[in-house]
């Protein structure tokens, strides 16, 4: 096991492909995505509505080495600024296989 940073990004579903593009640019190609995520925050409540699945959230979980954390966060920040969302960072151990 070695230490990594666990980034948990909750963001509007319309921004999904934008986030993936952004991560690719800084060479982050490993991530996990949860779709159909509901939520509530400053921008009101977000939930699947029958005719607008794009008004839900998606969650990205990204495990990245500590020294890459700032790069990742700085490239995600503009998206968070424009479209809102939540980004949490915590410590975790990666189990080597």
């Amino acid at each position: 096991m070695f230490s990594i940073k666990r980034i948990e990004l909750v963001i509007e579903a319309v921004e999904k492909s934008n986030v993936i593009r952004t991560l690719k640019k800084i060479n982050i190609t490993s991530y996990t995505i949860y779709k159909h995520v509901g939520g509530a925050g400053e921008r009101g409540s977000r939930d699947e509505i029958a005719f607008g699945e794009k008004f839900e959230n998606v969650t990205f979980v990204i495990a990245c080495p500590e020294n890459r954390l700032t790069t990742v966060i700085e490239s995600l920040r503009p998206i968070l600024k424009s479209y809102g969302g939540m980004c949490l960072v915590s410590d975790a151990q990666w189990v080597i296989h």
């Binding site: 934008n18 921008r43 509505i49 029958a50 005719f51 607008g52 503009p78 998206i79 479209y83």
Partner: protein, 307 residues
Amino acid sequence: MLAQLVRSDLKLPAELTKSITIYLLISVGIHGGIELSHIHLNEAIPSIAIAIVLGIALPIIAYFTIINIGKLDRLNAVAIATHYGSVSAGTFLTAIAFLEVMHVDYEKHPVIMLAIMESPAILVGLMLATSIRKKYALGSPVIESNQQALVKEAFTNGSILLLLGGILIGDIATEKSLKSILPFFDQLFMGVLCIFLLAMGMEAGKKIGDFKLAGRFLIGFGIIMPVLSGCVGVMIGHYVLGFSIGGATLVGVLAASASYIAVPPAMRMAIPEANPSLYLTLALGVTFPFNVVFGIPLYYGFACFLN
């Protein structure tokens, strides 16, 4: 009882409403395509031109109306206005059902117009937002790659492709092979539409709680805008395109309806400064139910009156 329905726990599965929408779009495309196969391409050009003109003119008119009469900020105004330049397939389908129950014939060109009118308003909205940001020196929070993605999607979104796909099938398929698929795409149409309207009604009803948020001016706008553009649409259908009562009604419905599927996510991406609750409430909670209950009979009545 309708109110009960809305407040209740009942929720049609999201995948069901999506599936139904797909079915309805293909079906209406096929119907249109079958009729259009008897028509020369040249004859469709005026309708196509009108569709583009409406798609460009309506959001601009709506924008200046909101800015001048209401006191909304400019970016929210653009976001709302864009919805009224695009179209609502659900409203269109209901109008077709209405005409069929009334045994009124209609031209099939509006089906093509429905496909075409999805896109231009989105581009107009994008351009308005960009020029406003420049003029008032607002920093644009829109990520560049989003802008490109948006333009592409404005022309290739699902509804357009399903409609055009249906039209193509109806147009080129032989009568023999149509016969085997029509029990599915034809006989079931009205029943499926019923379920669709139920789902739409429930969705619209859930928006009613957000009415206070929108304020009196916007709710008024969400009713008067479709009435005016609907009547203009009927007149264009009647005088410019020379359609029958049914066809003119449908042009009116196209002009009057506000998109609630394609435009909202596009505006969310293009104008993140705007409040999605406002445009969603207007398009889905005010204009859609108004058109279904009062608008369609009104435009139809007006079309009868012109004849």
